[in-house]
Amino acid sequence: MEQYLSLDEMVQPHRIHRKLYTEKEIFDQEMIKVFGGTWVYLAHESEIPKPNDFKTGYMGKRPVIIVRDNNGSFSAMFNRCTHRGATICREEKGNSKVFSCPYHGWTFKNTGELAGFPWPSGYSKDMDRSDLNLSHIRVDSYRGFIFGTLNREAPDLLTHLGPAAELMDQWLDRYDGKNIIVRNPNRMVYNGNWKLSYDNGADGYHVAFSHRSLLAVGQRLGENKDMTYFAQNPDNSEMTIQYLGNGHTFVDQRPNYKNVGDKWKQQRPQPGREILEEAIRNKFGEQADYLLDQAIGGQMNLCIFPNLLLIGNQIQVIQPVDVNRTELIWYSTQIEGLPEEINVLRLRSQEDFPSFGEPDDMTNFEECHFGLTIPEVEWVNIGRGYRIDGRQTIDEKGVIKGPVTDELPMRNYFQEWKRLMKTNLQLTAVSCN
């Protein structure tokens, strides 16, 4: 048996050990301590808009149900019958006041309270029912994004998000107070560790190379479209890469889009682009550029550790399946009350990157994972920008900024990862009362 290194040995300032990606035992610990010890994204409010709506999902590998109760507040419970363990809800979405377990018929209210079981005379009258309610996960939401944690001592969500909350505001405030509606997801899966996609969420280095085919498509009709600026001396651009604390990372491409209408102008052409643009210009005149920009992503990659990436106009969720397998769930979004042309253009724009960009990254994730299985080559180098005087700045909120190709997000978020992996908190869900 190969000897394990300690977490401190495996996470060094400028390099990390390959086993963080390849070892099943580490993965199993992550699913408990990272996807349990910190705030984990569970669902968006607009997916369960009405009282008694529910959605099933995961917290790490744990099956969970997220419910909007009668009063409109949210809760999340383990999707596990307190009888002998079957999942009680097997639908992706629905509306119900009760869940009844298909195995022996125990029923639970959507508050988690045990409502009853068949032929109760088979149980003693003084049986303690208090631990037979469904276990609740601590939840909190910020602007429609519902998170859960099993760590009673974790700070409240807003504190945990820190500077990321302000960036979420900026991502959401492009619509003058109109609400975001989360639509159906496009799901992808790759054979590699989940952190390979979290690493990539704030990686301004790979674009010119991994996305070379996408950039070529952007030049097919003779103009330089979206993201080609990553191939032109990106370190000297005004773009930045940032570490926001608590594992959260950020790429800011907005400096490339200074004027109203620039986002629209730069986007690779979508189906129906010209005719829908014409309709918007005819109807809205001077307002048109401002509206057309809202069909295009915010040019922010905001990564909320460990599983939520706001990229383009999508809400991307990282769902670990196994140490070497990861699902990426790309929820599309529309905006309540925008002209239909804009909302349709949003969808057609959101189909561009998953078709022409993400597959090449996923291939590189798989090839990374494959390469990392070689026992004799131990280290992953994350040293770009490390120890170069004056290359990074830290502002008063503690946000670390650097040139867009720097690997400072990885160097920093792995410290948070290590902190979570080292703590021996009692992680708990509580039975409802």
Partner: protein, 200 residues
């Protein structure tokens, strides 16, 4: 301010996209509703021709003749791979592909760049088409086709099987069959896919 566009520009569908307005979606919804409708069966000869056409289409893809394959589509085509089984509403739902002529050409162009890492090595495929049914749309040069497919893919040493059904709207232009709409209904359309960069 009314924007005026020369009509020849509107017809240059490789460069500009003028045919996919909101009405396009409404008409499409109407046509798609009819996938399962058993209206007028096409005559034997037409069915025979269309089967040959479908086999050729499948073979061109299996042989990697993507440019020849593009020629089978009309200038105002749609290449559609829904996430929602059977189609759903593309004005409210994301799809795996909802390509107009320009984006379909982009798709092929990307695969030809030599930098599409997800297709290096390229997928090797074998497609089988079966259960072909052909209906004629009332009083028009338009045929609705439904058929099943099995698509075996070998890439990077791994075999995969994709299956589902195609919905086609076909029309005859100067004696050649052309694809107006190709809808790729994967059996697992709403599930997670590994590397779905091959042409369906």
């Amino acid at each position: 301010m009314k924007v005026m566009v020369e009509s020849h520009v509107r017809e240059e569908t490789s460069r500009y996209s003028y045919y996919m307005d909101l009405n396009y979606y409404i008409n499409l919804a109407q046509k798609i509703k009819a996938w399962g409708e058993e209206t007028i069966k096409a005559d034997r000869e037409t069915v025979f021709e269309i089967k040959q056409f479908l086999y050729r289409e499948a073979r061109l893809l299996d042989e990697g003749k993507m440019e020849d394959w593009l020629q089978l589509f009309t200038k105002d085509c749609l290449y559609w791979t829904p996430v929602t089984p059977g189609g759903g509403d593309p004005t409210k739902e994301i799809t795996i592909s909802f390509d107009d002529r320009r984006r379909l050409e982009d798709r092929v162009y990307r695969l030809r760049t030599g930098y599409a890492w997800s297709q290096i090595p390229a997928s090797r495929t074998i497609r089988s088409i079966s259960n072909v049914e052909v209906w004629k749309e009332n009083n028009s040069n338009l045929y609705r086709v439904r058929c099943n497919f099995m698509l075996n893919e070998l890439r990077a040493g791994k075999m995969k099987l994709l299956s589902g059904w195609y919905g086609f709207l076909l029309t005859k232009e100067n004696n050649d069959w052309k694809i107006l709409v190709k809808q790729n209904n994967l059996l697992d359309s709403d599930q997670a896919h590994e590397n779905l960069t091959l042409l369906l």
